[in-house]
Structures are given as C-alpha cells and as structure tokens.
C-alpha cells in the first residue's frame, strides 16, 4: 500500500481578481522510503500541493479531492488530529531557512518543543535527543548551538537545524520545499547529500519539490513534472532524463545549461509564459508554448500510462526526433 495517495487534488484561491486555480486535479502515489521529485517552474503548483497536504494553505485557499496518508484522510481533519500528524509523522522543511526558524527563540527551545509535544518527553530527555539529532545533521558543537539563536547561524546551518527538527520524531514522510534554493552552491550539495543519506538510513519517504533538475537527478527515485497545476509526465528518474516523452519535459531538460555544448552564449529557454491561473485554457495548458502543438491539443489529453511506471499527458505518441539544440 502506498504511504501517501493523492487523488484529484485541487487547490484554488479566492482573490479580488478572481479565482486562482493553483492545482487542478493532481493525483500521485508515494511509497514508503521513496523519494519523489516534484518538478516544475514557478507557479506550477508544487508548493501549494505540499501546503495542501500539510493543511497549511493560506486562509483564502480552498482544497478538494483526497489526500490519504497511511490509510487516513488528511483533508478535512480536525485541527487537533492534524497537529498530531504534523511534525510527528509528516514533516516539512521550507525554502528560506533563515526566516523559517523563530528568531525570538533559541535553537534548543525550538527543537525541544517538538519532542515534549509529540513524544511527551521531559525537557532533559528531549534536550539530549535534540543534541544527538544536531550531531546527526553534522552541526559542530551541538550543545552550544542549542543555546544560540537563528541569527547567529548561517543559512546552511539553519537548514541543517530545520532538517534535524523535521526528523526528530522519525516521520514517515518529509516534504522538502526547495530546501536548497536559498543556499550557496557548495552548501546546496552538502544539504542534498545529507537529506539523501538520512532518508536512506531512516527509510523516510521524501516529497522533494524543486525547479532544479540537478537536485532531482541526485536524490529522487521518481519524478513528477507539473505544469499549471497538472501532471505532465511521471517516470523513474533515469528514464526521464534519458528519454523524456513530454514536450515540456524535453524543454525543461534542454534549458539546463551544459558544459559539453558549444558555447553560443545563448541559454535555451522555453519561449512564452505559463497560462494565467485565473483563466486556464480548456485544452492542454502547455499548448501555447509547445513546439509540436496541433489541432487536437485544444482538448485536454488524459494523464495515461504509456509504459511500465511511465505516465504522460500528451496527444503525441512520440516526440519528433530530437533536434540538436544550438
């Protein structure tokens, strides 16, 4: 049985300009211990998907569909029940580690409260466990860190604290929303390998949200490519990189700058902009930017199985022969 089953998830926001359709009927499964990369450009609904699973949407957000975690429906759960799941069985880390930690509380207090709340530990035991956890995310001087405040730590150190905090209760699922986007490149790779290592050791599943295909290649087992709040393609990570089957995936892969290509000084970008989420097109949302769009793309294609473990939402049977990008 899957650890997490998301079915037909929709998230929309009522705004003065109209209703913003952030996520539109998304479905996917996540198995225990698996790392699923959720990839897409800004505004594709990755973060709102995560927040909807956590029950952390903004006040004007509306959610429908179903999110079943270990056989339990999360949507519509009472605040009390939800607060037992959050931080204990599902944890989340965020894009901006500096502002995600409370600047008014010491690192120690912020770690300890997780254990005293979820595990009913006494402060001393909780403290010992927190110090041990800081060691496991390889922070130097864990005892001293406990007394420090977030502003005394670097961004990378803060993200290590966030990871330690998220893993304190050995959750089944860790949702990581762009965990390394705000960090230096060298720190990025350290944090990524730390997450990979810890999830392998503790068999924690990770829902990894990123726009960085490099991060996905290193960490994820499977990849789900999102666009305008819908699935475009889903595949095991190696297959996706070797053989993308959706024009959008192909475009994303082509837009990654490569060292082994002739330097023309031009970066490959997908032309155009994503559709307005206020008024989604009735057909394929990517049609407006797609190199291969044709008549039939005015109708929304199904998200259908095309191979073992592979799904795509496209009318094309196969992508035309790869053009050599200049």
């Amino acid at each position: 049985m899957a650890l997490l089953e998301v079915r037909n998830l929709t998230v929309s926001f009522d705004t003065p300009d109209g209703t913003v359709h952030a996520v539109n009927g998304l479905s996917f499964d996540l198995d225990p211990g698996e790392t699923l990369g959720l990839v897409g450009e800004s505004g594709s609904g990755k973060t709102q998907t995560a927040l909807a699973i956590m029950g952390l949407l903004a006040q004007n957000g509306r959610v429908s569909g179903s999110v079943v975690f270990r056989g339990q429906e999360l949507l519509g759960m009472s605040p009390g029940e939800l607060s037992r799941v959050r931080g204990s069985k599902i944890s989340m880390i965020f894009q901006d580690p500096d502002s995600s930690l409370n600047p008014y509380l010491s690192i120690g207090d912020q770690l300890i409260e997780v254990l005293t709340h979820h595990r009913a530990l006494r402060r001393r035991e909780a403290r010992a466990r927190a110090i041990e956890m800081l060691g496991r995310v390889r922070l130097s001087d864990p005892e001293q860190r406990m007394r420090q405040y977030p502003h005394e730590l670097s961004g990378g150190m803060c993200q290590r604290v966030m990871i330690a905090m998220a893993l304190l209760c050995q959750p089944d699922l860790l949702i990581a929303d762009e965990p390394t986007t705000a960090l230096d490149v060298t720190v990025q790779s350290q944090i990524n390998s730390l997450m990979g290592e810890l999830s392998e050791k503790s068999s924690t599943a990770i829902l990894l949200i990123t726009h960085d295909l490099g991060v996905v290649a290193g960490l994820a087992h499977r990849v789900l490519v999102m666009y305008a709040g819908q699935e475009m393609e889903m595949a095991p990570v190696d297959d996706l990189f070797a053989d993308p089957r959706h024009p959008y995936t192909e475009g994303l892969l082509n837009s990654v700058p490569r060292l082994d290509q002739v330097r023309s000084g031009i970066l490959n970008a997908i032309p155009g902009n994503p559709p307005s989420l206020l008024e989604l097109p009735t057909g394929c949302p990517f049609a407006g930017r797609c190199l291969y769009a044709w008549e039939q793309c005015r109708q929304l294609p199904e998200f259908e199985k095309i191979d073992e473990d592979r799904f795509k939402r496209c009318h094309l049977d196969a992508l035309p022969t790869k053009r050599e990008s200049a």
Binding site: R86, Y104, L105, V114
Partner: protein, 310 residues
C-alpha cells in the same frame, strides 16, 4: 548591558539640561506674570514681591540661581500656593497620581493584550469585529464623558461606589482607574491585534504549525514576544503620561494628584511649579524610553546594545 545602561543614564543629563533651559525661558517669555491680577497692585508691593522671589534680577542670574537650586534638588517655593514649596506639592500629589496611573497601566495591559491577541487569532470573524468596534468606541469617548457616565451608573444609580473624593482605598480608586484605563485598553488591543496579525503571517509561524504545535502554544510561545514589541514602544511615552495624572479625571473625581498642576501652574504663571512638573515629566519620559529599550533587548535576541558599540 550595564555599560550601556550607564551610558544611557549619563546621556539623560544633557537632555534634561536642554529641557530645563527651554522651559525656563519659555514660561518667562509668556505674557503676564505670577502676581498679575484684575486690580493693579501698588508699585511698592510689586517691588517687594519681585525682590522676595528674585524676579528683579537679570534673567540670566535667575536662570543660574535656578540651576544651582535644582542641582541640590530644591525646586523652590510655589509662586501661587503660599507657604508651599514645589517639592512639597509634588511629593504630596505624585504618590496619588502614580498609584492610579500604575493601576490603570496594569489593568490596560492585562486586558488589552489578551483581547488584541484573541481578535488577531480570529481575524475577520465576529469576535474580531466586536472587539475592534468596542476598542474604537473606547478610543473615541473622551474621559470627561466617560467619567460622569461611570459615576452616574455605579455611584448614583447602583450606589456601589463613591462618586469622588480621595483616600487610599480600593473603592475610591475603581472608577478613576477604569476611566484612565479604558482608552489605553483600546489602544493596546488595537496595537496588539495589528502586530499579531503581521506576526501570524510570518514564515516561522508556518514552521511552528508544520511542527504540529497547537494554536495556544503558537500564540503564546511563538507569536506573543514579537507581537509585543510595538506595544512596548507605545508604553514608553504612554506610561509617563498616565503616571503624571490627568487633569480631567482628577477634577471630576476630586483627587489631589499632580495632573492639575500642569494646567493650573501654567495659567497662574507659577514659574517654579511649571518647571517642577515639566522636569518630572521629562525625567519619566527619559526613564521609560530607557526601560523600553531594555525590554526590547530582552524580548528580541537580535538586539544586543553593548556588542554594537564594541
């Protein structure tokens, strides 16, 4: 922190000196004098009075004499209340005003902060709207309307409390304290609500919710500290104002505080009394702003005064 505190207190001296100088010359520039009345006094008496109070000396000499006296904490004789020194007037009235002010301040904090936080937590719901409407009423009703209304209800109609007069007894303090506290409760509730709403949208509150912390915990251990900072800033000058009494409240409830000296002293051109209350008020403002900065550093770990100077 100690080094910083000493520095701050030392810097209060030039501030006070400027305040004293400015107030001393301002009140003397004001037309009229302490002994002017409807009927002109005979010149001999006027000369005698001027000699007694050193008003016949050059202004600069008077100023020097005054500075010398207040350096020895002698604020001089009142020009209006015969046989009273300004020290005596203030020492007699200040404890009354301080007591009422402190009680009102405590009441305002005890009520204003919780209801403001509650309104923020229930933003745009019935509880929020009713608390904020009441607060608007509290701010809008002037105390010279509120005080008689309270007297009418609790002293005359219900007969529970005395209508006025003064002694150090709880019954006599209830109505003046409530009158003083009501607008402050309203201000504090509004400030708390506003800053709390801002804090509740911060990323670290989302983290706390993602950690599964219950609402009570989020409100009190995560959001309250940052939300209190603007309230603390407001309290600095507000505390100095409320501790020095209110003319209106003291008049209506016939309370012998120092609030009325501000107005009476100025109207009577009671030079020394005006100077006395101005200096007292100035010292309280300086003291409370200093305390505000200390509380700020205590609430926000990012503020460390000594390190910045080092």
């Amino acid at each position: 922190m100690l080094k910083y505190s000493l520095k701050r207190l030392a810097s209060a001296i030039p501030t006070l000196f400027l305040l004293i100088t400015f107030a001393f010359f301002m009140i003397r520039i004001a037309p009229g004098g302490p002994f002017d009345s409807e009927r002109a006094l005979p010149p001999e008496i006027e000369a005698n009075l001027a000699a007694k109070y050193h008003l016949d000396e050059h202004l600069v000499i008077q100023y020097g004499r005054y500075l010398w006296n207040i350096a020895r904490l002698d604020f001089g004789p009142s020009f209006h209340y015969l046989d009273w020194s300004v020290n005596d007037l203030i020492l007699q009235g200040a404890p009354v005003s301080f007591t009422l002010g402190l009680l009102a301040l405590a009441l305002a904090l005890a009520i204003g902060i919780p209801i403001g936080a509650w309104a923020a937590f229930r933003q745009n719901r019935a509880a929020d709207y009713s608390v904020m409407s009441l607060a608007m009423v509290g701010i809008s009703i002037p105390n010279f309307v509120m005080a008689p209304l309270l007297i009418l209800l609790f002293a005359i109609t219900l007969g529970w409390l005395p209508a006025g007069g003064w002694e150090f007894s709880p019954a006599r303090m209830v109505l003046p304290v409530i009158t003083l506290a009501l607008p402050m409760i309203a201000y504090i509730a509004r400030i708390t609500r506003g800053s709390m709403i801002e804090v509740l949208h911060a990323s670290f509150i989302r983290t706390a919710r993602a950690k599964g912390m219950p609402s009570r915990n989020i409100l009190f251990s995560h959001a309250l500290k940052p939300a209190l900072l603007p309230v603390i800033s407001y309290l600095g000058p507000a505390a100095a104002a409320i501790l020095t009494g209110s003319v209106v409240v003291e008049r209506i409830f016939t309370i012998p505080g120092i609030g009325s000296y501000f107005v009476q002293g100025a109207l009577n051109r009671d030079y020394t009394l005006v100077m006395g209350v101005v200096i007292l008020y100035g010292m309280l403002i300086i003291l409370f702003n200093f305390l505000v900065d200390l509380v700020y550093a205590w609430l926000d770990p990012r503020i460390r005064y000594d390190e910045q100077e080092a």
